[in-house]
């Protein structure tokens, strides 16, 4: 049986609302979260590997604790000339590379959000 579920934003008639004015539609993909992980690199190592084994390349967001202030988070990819953090996604894993060119033993605290959607 095929049917459609729609929830409109406040102030919009769900029967006539355009997609941009909906909070949910069963006809449109959503951003659902598969997994959230907090990881760190080992001192002296720039690489972090996370195995997700989903069999497809998922959408991923990566944040890290600001190296200049633990009170704030920054978004990856990041490059300020001395600290460079980047990541690669494959069908089985996420590889994160974090480098401080002035402190090779620096430890980065990183949050990885893996979404169910493929890229």
């Amino acid at each position: 049986m095929n049917f459609v579920i729609k929830i409109s934003k406040p102030g919009f008639d769900v029967l006539t609302a355009q997609n941009k004015d909906l909070s949910f539609s069963s006809e449109l993909a959503t951003h659902s979260i598969y997994q959230v992980l907090n990881v760190s690199n080992q001192p002296g190592s720039s690489q972090i590997i996370i195995n997700h084994n989903l069999g497809y390349i998922p959408k991923v967001w990566v944040y890290f604790v600001d190296p200049n202030s633990s009170n704030s988070y920054r978004r990856v990819p990041f490059d300020d000339g001395s600290v460079v953090i980047d990541y690669y996604i494959t069908t089985s894993k996420i590889e994160i590379y974090c480098n401080d060119f002035y402190n090779s033993n620096r430890v980065f605290n990183i949050t990885v959000i893996i979404f169910n959607r493929s890229v």
């Binding site: 579920i5 949910f24 069963s26 006809e27 449109l28 993909a29 959503t30 951003h31 659902s32 979260i33 598969y34 989903l54 069999g55 497809y56 998922p58 967001w61 944040y63 600001d66 202030s69 009170n71 704030s72 988070y73 920054r74 978004r75 990856v76 990819p77 990041f78 490059d79 300020d80 000339g81 949050t111 959000i113 169910n116 959607r117 493929s118």
Partner: protein, 131 residues
């Protein structure tokens, strides 16, 4: 009780991959706390947007990119929007778009090391989820 909606062409009862669903109540959805646009002056200071969530939320921010135009010998504002954090690194001059996420606010900084005279446009989404 679970609610699942599969993608078109996928049998919801047979689907197994998380990527097969438009909605699966086993997995939480991103929920938007607030969103909007901003104008930022590259001459100094941060643009501050308060969320008052009491924790550091997921955030995505885009702003117009600043590029060095060698024919003009000056920085120019492009119509391209880059997701923060971005940096254009040159041998002498840089441009950047950075966002700092705090427990009560986000602070946005966009600028370059040379002209510092532009107004740039951007937009943001702040989500309910905690980093």
């Amino acid at each position: 009780m679970k609610i699942k909606i599969s993608k078109p062409g996928v049998d919801v009862l047979a689907a197994t991959s998380p990527n097969d669903f438009y909605l699966n109540s086993d997995y939480p959805l991103l929920k938007i706390h607030s969103y909007g646009t901003f104008t930022h002056f590259t001459g100094g200071g941060n643009t501050v947007i308060y969320h008052n969530l009491g924790y550091k939320p997921y955030v995505i921010v885009f702003s117009q990119a600043i590029w060095w135009d060698s024919s003009l010998g000056d920085w120019i504002i492009t119509n391209e929007y880059y997701q923060h954090d971005w940096t254009n690194l040159g041998a002498t001059y840089w441009s950047w778009g950075n966002t700092y996420v705090y427990d009560d606010r986000i602070e946005i900084s966009v600028g370059d090391t040379y002209s510092n005279k532009h107004f740039i446009h951007g937009f943001y989404y702040i989500f309910k989820e905690q980093v």
